[in-house]
């Protein structure tokens, strides 16, 4: 009988709704560690056994978990039709599980869950087993209002990711994007898997959402005063406030890693430049001083550098400068239309979209240190506006490959491309939000 460390409580309850009552895991050395630093890893095959307990909530929560595992890029979900074990005869303890029936169908990992509904609340008990070791490697019990059932799955998925990768998972994060309606474009906030999409602005023309670090304030560009300027909306209250009204137009605020300073683009005297605003309210300082367009700034995670787009060489390309505007240098040299840079949370890559030889846009990354470019999408419609998840494990982007523009996620090497929206007209300009507070 192996020993387990006692339950490890979560550092804090980011989701006040969720209550974790137990979470056990073996010593670190016993963990199956998935090496995620190399492209082309073998996905870890996982069987998700049919749930026991209340069936509707059990199935629903495992569907969400299965989606998270699939999008993670680390797990491959096995087809339940192949399963040999009888879930009604198996229990949750290692002694009651015939692991050979799971290894036979190719499962390295096994997930079991039990759901119980009491009044308006649901409690879900998850177990994750390493079938090669005939051992449970972690379990957790979570309760929440039934309406927040999906959050329970995301919470467990994040705990699984943390367990396997020793990094914080990104499934409890949120995304913002632009939804096209019949009358215009509105800013929408949704869960990281596209569910629970809620409009937070009306449908005039609202563009380019960008998250503040508090996780609920979203800056966006709107034509509500006649020309494009920058506003914020609080996703909790829907309160809209002006942020930057200067210039003939202003767009695209991006908050620095310190959460206080932010960059934006504005056109004052016939030229679009990048400005930096300080927290104390001192006026925006112009960082670029070229004759041509300078826009679409993105911060390095250490806050020391800013990548941006400039057409000073005749067409839009990715440039990098120090955060005070000094040492401006060109980073991309391939193609004649590169745009929408997004600096990775790990700092090594900048994702961008570029127009290829077939004149459609695709997603690329460029290594900051070497300038080496990697292509992530190809021959699948127009792909634009990459945005990183806060742990750098995923990119979200828009693609027209299924006809209407929708949002997709993928791993930073371009594998595991999965659609997450099904908007009736279109979804575009995604921006991945920060980690929720706490946790």
């Amino acid at each position: 009988m192996k020993t387990r460390t006692p339950s490890i409580p979560f550092a804090s309850l980011a989701h006040a709704l969720l209550l974790c009552t137990a979470f056990a895991q073996p010593a670190l050395a016993d963990r199956p560690v998935i090496n995620i630093e190399h492209a082309g890893i073998q996905a870890y095959p996982v069987a998700i056994a049919p749930p026991v307990g209340e069936p509707t909530s059990g199935k629903a929560v495992l569907d969400v978990l299965s989606g998270d595992f699939t999008r993670s890029g680390l797990f491959r979900i096995l087809d339940p039709a192949s399963f040999l074990a009888d879930p009604n005869k198996e229990g949750f303890t290692e002694q009651t599980i015939d692991f050979s029936k799971w290894t036979t169908v190719g499962a390295s990992g096994l997930v079991k869950a039990k759901s119980v509904i009491t009044g308006d609340n649901v409690q879900v008990e998850f177990h994750f087993y390493d079938t090669a070791k005939n051992a449970e490697v972690l379990h957790g019990t979570y309760s929440a209002p039934v309406a927040s059932l999906r959050q329970i799955a995301h919470r467990f998925a994040d705990d699984v990711m943390k367990f396997f990768t020793q990094e914080r998972g990104d499934f409890q994060t949120r995304i913002a994007y632009v939804r096209e309606t019949g009358d215009g474009k509105q800013i929408v906030v949704a869960d990281s898997d596209g569910a629970n999409a809620q409009a937070v602005t009306g449908a005039s023309i609202n563009l380019l959402p960008g998250w503040a670090h508090d996780g609920h304030t979203i800056a966006f560009t709107s034509f509500r005063d006649g020309a494009a300027h920058i506003y914020t909306v609080d996703a909790l209250t829907r309160a809209i406030k002006p942020l930057v009204l200067m210039g003939d137009y202003a767009s695209g605020p991006v908050f620095a890693p310190d959460g206080l300073r932010f960059t934006f683009s504005a056109s004052l005297n016939g030229n679009t430049d990048i400005f930096l605003s300080e927290a104390d309210g001192s006026a925006g300082r112009k960082l670029t001083e070229a004759r041509d367009i300078n826009t679409a700034a993105t911060w390095s995670p250490d806050g020391k550098q800013i990548a941006f787009i400039s057409n000073r060489a005749g067409n839009p390309q990715v440039y990098v400068m120090n955060a005070d505007g000094s040492n401006q240098r060109r980073l991309t040299f391939q193609g004649n239309y590169n745009q929408e840079p997004a600096w990775s949370p790990k700092g090594d890559l900048i994702a961008f979209s570029g127009r290829d030889e077939l004149r459609s846009f695709d997603i690329y990354t460029v290594a900051v240190a070497t300038g080496k470019v990697a292509r992530l999408t190809q021959n699948a419609g127009t792909n634009e506006k990459p945005s990183w998840s806060p742990n750098g494990r995923h990119l979200i982007f828009s693609s027209t490959r299924t006809g209407k523009r929708q949002l997709w996620t993928m791993s930073p090497d371009g594998t595991n491309q999965q659609r997450i929206t099904d908007e009736p007209r279109s979804a575009g300009d995604p921006s991945w939000g920060p980690f929720p507070a706490g946790n």
């Binding site: 563009l207 509500r224 005063d225 506003y231 829907r238 695209g252 826009t295 846009f361 507070a437």
Partner: protein, 202 residues
């Protein structure tokens, strides 16, 4: 002319609060219903073309009508990712410049537009560049800066909603919009109008 104004102290205050609250969005709140936007737009006058007429009766209604007619529906077109005026564009703007020089009481708004290709953010910049190029050219023809307001509509107001070169070439344009007050929102049902003005509180 708008005074350069950075209003983010309020927003930063908003950032400071509730750092510990949950990111859940309340599902029962209607979009946009909560707080009015800071600026409440009034709808533009129904027929702005007629209002300056009364002030300039001496010039004669006919001449003013003709001037306004010449400013109507003037669009100039651009190459892909370009803000360079073509010969055709310069010719059209020559007429506009002549009319505006003779009628300093008239204002125009230049709206720069782009085709759908490329990012919203770059297209906002490119549309502004196109509008500014038109403004600069008109200024060279003697039009006063105060008569012209140049704005960008990015790729948000395509003249043709199609997705091919025929549509795109119609959408890479700058439009001259005439009216007694170029600072007012365009009256062609564009983004500037309704939704920013919340309905009276229920």
């Amino acid at each position: 002319m708008r005074t350069p104004l950075l209003r983010f102290s309020l927003a930063l205050a908003a950032l400071a609060v509730s750092a510990c609250s949950t990111p859940e969005v309340k599902p029962d709140v209607k979009p946009q219903a909560a707080k009015p936007a800071a600026k409440v737009e009034t709808p533009p006058p129904a027929a702005p073309e007629t209002t300056p007429a009364a002030e300039f009766k001496a010039q004669g209604q006919a001449e003013l009508d003709k001037a306004l007619e010449q400013l109507k529906s003037v669009s100039v077109f651009f190459e892909f990712d370009s803000s360079t005026l073509t010969k055709d564009a310069s010719d059209k703007l020559g007429v506009v410049g002549d009319v505006l020089s003779r009628h300093p009481e008239l204002d125009v708004k230049i709206e720069g537009n782009c085709d759908e290709r490329g990012s919203a953010q770059y297209n906002l910049a490119l549309g502004q560049k196109r509008a500014d190029v038109v403004k600069k050219y008109l200024a060279q023809l003697g039009v006063k800066a105060g008569q012209i307001k140049a704005i960008s509509l990015g790729s948000e107001k395509p003249a043709d909603p199609g997705h091919d070169e025929d549509a795109w070439k119609k959408n890479r344009r700058a439009d001259v919009q005439s009216g007694p007050d170029s600072a007012k929102p365009a009256s062609n049902g564009d983004a500037t109008a309704a939704p920013a003005a919340p309905a009276p509180t229920k």
